[in-house]
């Protein structure tokens, strides 16, 4: 029902027309005082003005986008930009100037896509569960080509990457250099022994634990390379039926039951242990959940 009273020299309709300017502070002080006087004297307008303001404020708060959708979108964006970046720089007009390179990229697209998506989702899960800062010394255990390492490195103080594969580390070194991100490389023996360096404030690992025969021993080793209060953030597959890897060589575990990871961490002396889903990766039409275990050294 339209309200057409006149209060403080203004009609309700005039106030309705100016509510946005009032809310945005986009009117003279004089006019503002007049509108305020009307609101003070007119219940209906005051109520509506309050509701209007609250509704617009709620809109400004925004509602968070579903994080899983966003992380997939961002990972695909990175892949596409990265692929485009290899073609050339904008000065020479090379960047994405034709469809040509799409055809070239298509051959490796899916493979790259899935791995990149998974690593990206893990990196996001880590940064949402562990407060990262420039004060932290961080180790990525089983860093591979650095998909997780290089994403986290800019958010922390120092980053080291340990891996048993010289080939992986060489690729990582090349990427780190071209992106101007310093990463200290720690080559390990094929058995996984070798100096892990440190002490660290955080040790992360993604999709590597299942390659390690003696995981409890590894957790005890982590404790020795962590500062007191230091944390771990470890991601790997939930227990699966052995279908994830086509080639079982070097695979010591078909994923892990979460309670086993929990107990091993506890036995090694970790506290505040949490094991939650980081993401779900799909391979040949099958879904494989990936957990992220976080814990703190006593």
């Amino acid at each position: 029902m339209a309200i057409e009273r006149e209060v403080a020299g203004l009609r309700c309709g005039e106030v309705l027309a100016e509510l946005s300017d009032f809310l945005d502070g986009d009117m003279s002080l004089e006019r503002r005082a007049q509108v305020q006087a009307h609101l003070d004297g007119c219940d209906a307008c005051e109520r509506f003005g309050g509701a209007f303001t609250a509704a617009i404020r709620a809109l400004r708060q925004g509602e968070p986008m579903p994080p899983s959708e966003a992380s997939i979108a961002f990972a695909r964006l990175s892949v596409r930009l990265e692929n485009a970046g290899r073609v050339g720089d904008p000065a020479t007009g090379g960047f994405m100037s034709g469809t040509e390179h799409f055809d070239q990229a298509a051959a490796t697209w899916d493979l790259a896509d899935r791995r990149v998506l998974l690593a990206h989702a893990v990196a996001e899960a880590i940064s949402s569960r562990v407060p990262l800062s420039k004060e932290l010394n961080v180790l990525d255990f089983g860093c591979g080509t650095g998909l997780v390492t290089l994403e986290l490195a800019p958010q922390v103080g120092s980053m080291s990457g340990a891996d048993t594969s010289p080939g992986m580390l060489t690729t990582l070194a090349g990427k780190a250099e071209s992106q101007g991100i310093p990463v200290r490389l720690l080559p390990l023996t094929t058995e996984g022994t070798g100096d892990l360096g440190g002490p660290y404030d955080l040790i992360v690992s993604s999709m590597t634990l299942h390659h390690v025969a003696d995981v409890p021993a590894l957790f005890s080793r982590f404790v020795q390379h962590l500062n007191p209060g230091g944390q771990v953030a470890l991601a790997d597959l939930d227990e699966e039926e052995g279908t994830f890897h086509e080639d079982a060589a070097g695979v010591h575990h078909q994923g892990f039951p979460r309670n086993r990871i929990h107990d091993w961490l506890e036995d090694a002396g970790f506290r505040a242990i949490q094991v939650e889903t980081a993401t779900v990766t799909a391979k040949e039409g099958k879904d494989y959940p990936v957990f992220l275990a976080t814990a703190r050294r006593a």
């Binding site: 946005s20 109520r47 709620a58 695909r76």
Partner: protein, 192 residues
């Protein structure tokens, strides 16, 4: 948290974009990291379709990289990006009819939004996702304006430039869009 442009980001964006223009991919990457959430939020809400939103997101940054040299400051870099994003979204809907703006009287719009009713639309705000749902039901012109102005916090001037409107026309459209939004919130609450 309100998504208002961060202090000092104008200068920073300009530096990053000029480095990107001279071929520095890592500067562009930093620029992408700063703004991808806003562009995603915008394309996602504007299209209502994940796939289309992703295409538009990618197209926006590819096109921003190609044309990074053409960013001259002046407005905000976010405004510049969102204007690219908007074109990317509309390119997908070639021949979009572009609903003519409905010209209900302000009193009619106000009444739909609960002006003069005893009902308090505030109740609707307590329910999760109602804001997003109300927004999603608005005509695309209202939705994009509210996204740019309220959600991304662009100024009236930036919005007007981006939409090719004068500031006065923009303000009048904004007011109407806000009222329609409140009306949608109210509709939600009344079970339509």
């Amino acid at each position: 948290m309100e998504h208002l442009p961060r202090e000092g980001s104008l200068i920073e964006d300009q530096i990053l974009l000029s480095q990107a223009a001279s071929g520095d991919a890592s500067a562009f990457e930093a620029f992408v990291l700063c703004h991808r959430e806003a562009v995603w939020r915008f394309t996602r809400s504007l299209t209502r379709d994940v796939g289309a939103a992703e295409d538009a997101l990618q197209e926006t940054f590819l096109s921003a990289w190609r044309s990074s040299a053409s960013f001259r400051g002046g407005g905000s870099a976010l405004g510049w990006l969102l204007s690219i994003a908007r074109h990317a979204v509309y390119r997908q809907h070639k021949g979009r009819a572009g609903e003519p703006e409905r010209m209900e009287s302000l009193a009619e719009l106000g009444e739909a939004a609960g002006w003069g009713a005893d009902f308090d639309p505030l109740d609707a705000l307590m329910v999760k996702d109602e804001v997003g749902r109300a927004l999603a039901r608005l005509p695309v012109e209202d939705r994009e304006l509210l996204l740019l102005r309220e959600v991304e916090g662009l100024s009236n001037e930036d919005c007007a430039g981006l939409l090719g409107l004068g500031v006065r026309a923009l303000k009048s459209r904004l007011h109407r869009a806000r009222l329609r939004f409140v009306a949608q919130l109210r509709g939600e609450h009344h079970g339509h």
